[in-house]
Amino acid sequence: MTVRMILRKKVYEVKAGMTIRDAILKLDIMPESVLPVKNGELLTDDEILKDGDEIRLVAVISGG
């Protein structure tokens, strides 16, 4: 029952059954700083993760 979450080149594994927001928080990532995308589609973070999902987290913070 695992879900892959990818942020830049880092791959994380989390359990299915929780929301994307909870998974992001569990990974110690700031929800405001990423956008979740599954199969090229943008999702809201209340979506429940299903076994086998692969979620790309698009980093949105830029600056310098």
Partner: protein, 314 residues
């Protein structure tokens, strides 16, 4: 979660507005809001000649896209800083800017710092005290100078940049932390021009969160440089953004309120009585002719002059 307007599946939830929208409604919401901010802050109108500062990143390309959709004619300006790093940052940024301009039949002006001044930003940073710790200061000074020069000499009415609310809130946070009253007084959606050589500047995206412009680019299929500038690693602006996002997570709307409350305070004269704000008279720089408050050369010419001297000495 469903779209507030049509009950279709939402793709974005903007917690600060308590507003979730589907792809279709989000793609019309952001341009409509942009138009509202352009009018509200008296940024420009459709008769104006507009120059967009384009970096190849999401904010500037989305801004250029939205301006076209709204019927504003705008040329782009890309400044090639000569920053390479492991993924040829400047080259890649330029490629995204070029591709966007070509596919939308838009005019992109390219200014190459290395050709103009004889050295890249990183080389200049390594040779000056100003860039000793970080090249960002030299980069900022160079970009502001070139944007103003190209805009003013090209007879554009306004220079627009893709600064978003996260950029503005981070800038505000930094300026407030150090109580930089002069900078605070100048910060805002619009910086008026000056007939002696300063072009008017506007930030139509100043009230959109960074994730909103990113979401728009994903939904519209706008390709942009995803990698961060290699020199920005550890930049203060990113650190401030992270702190503000921590607060936003606990209290949605914090960033927006921070910025809007600042604008209200400014409008009510919060920064006008400070004696430090007495305007210094401007004169033309002895070298480039751009306005400066210094008695001889402007900061840009002084800095690049030192770089050339040190290159010759080496």
């Amino acid at each position: 979660m469903k779209c507030r307007k049509c009950d279709n599946k939402a793709v974005i939830n903007m917690r600060q507005h308590k507003l979730a929208l589907c792809s279709h409604h989000y793609l019309s919401w952001l341009p409509e809001k942009t138009e509202h901010f352009i009018t509200k802050y008296k940024m420009f109108d459709r008769a104006d000649r507009i120059l967009v500062a384009v970096s190849g990143g999401k904010d500037s390309l989305v801004l250029w896209d939205v301006l076209q959709q709204l019927g504003y004619e705008a040329d782009g300006l890309y400044i090639d800083l000569g920053i390479d790093g492991e993924y040829a940052y400047s080259e890649e940024s330029k490629r995204y800017s070029d591709e966007f301009a070509n596919s939308n039949n838009l005019k992109l002006i390219v200014a190459e710092v290395t050709k103009m001044e004889g050295a890249s930003i990183l080389k200049a940073a390594s040779l000056t005290h100003r860039g000793k710790d970080k090249p960002c200061s030299i980069c900022g000074l160079t970009k502001r100078h070139i944007m103003n020069r190209v805009g003013f000499e090209g007879n554009y009415d306004v220079l627009v940049t893709g600064h978003n609310l996260d950029d503005e809130a981070a800038l505000l946070f930094g300026n407030a932390l150090n109580w930089q009253v002069g900078y605070l007084a100048r910060q805002g959606p619009v910086l008026d021009g000056n007939p002696n050589g300063f072009i008017k500047r506007a930030k139509p995206f100043c009230r959109f969160y960074e994730r909103e412009t990113a979401a728009y680019s994903l939904l519209r299929g706008i390709d942009y440089i995803y990698e961060e500038c290699p020199s920005a690693v550890g930049a203060k602006s990113i650190y401030f953004k992270e702190i503000l996002n921590q607060m936003e997570m606990d209290r949605p709307g914090t960033k927006l309120q921070f910025y809007l409350a600042f604008l209200r305070a400014k409008e009510n004269g919060a920064f006008t009585s400070d004696p430090g704000l007495i305007e210094t008279p401007l004169r033309k720089c002895d070298s480039c002719g751009q306005p400066t408050s210094s008695p001889d050369e402007c900061a840009y010419c002084r800095m690049w002059g030192r770089v050339r001297e040190r290159m010759e000495a080496n």
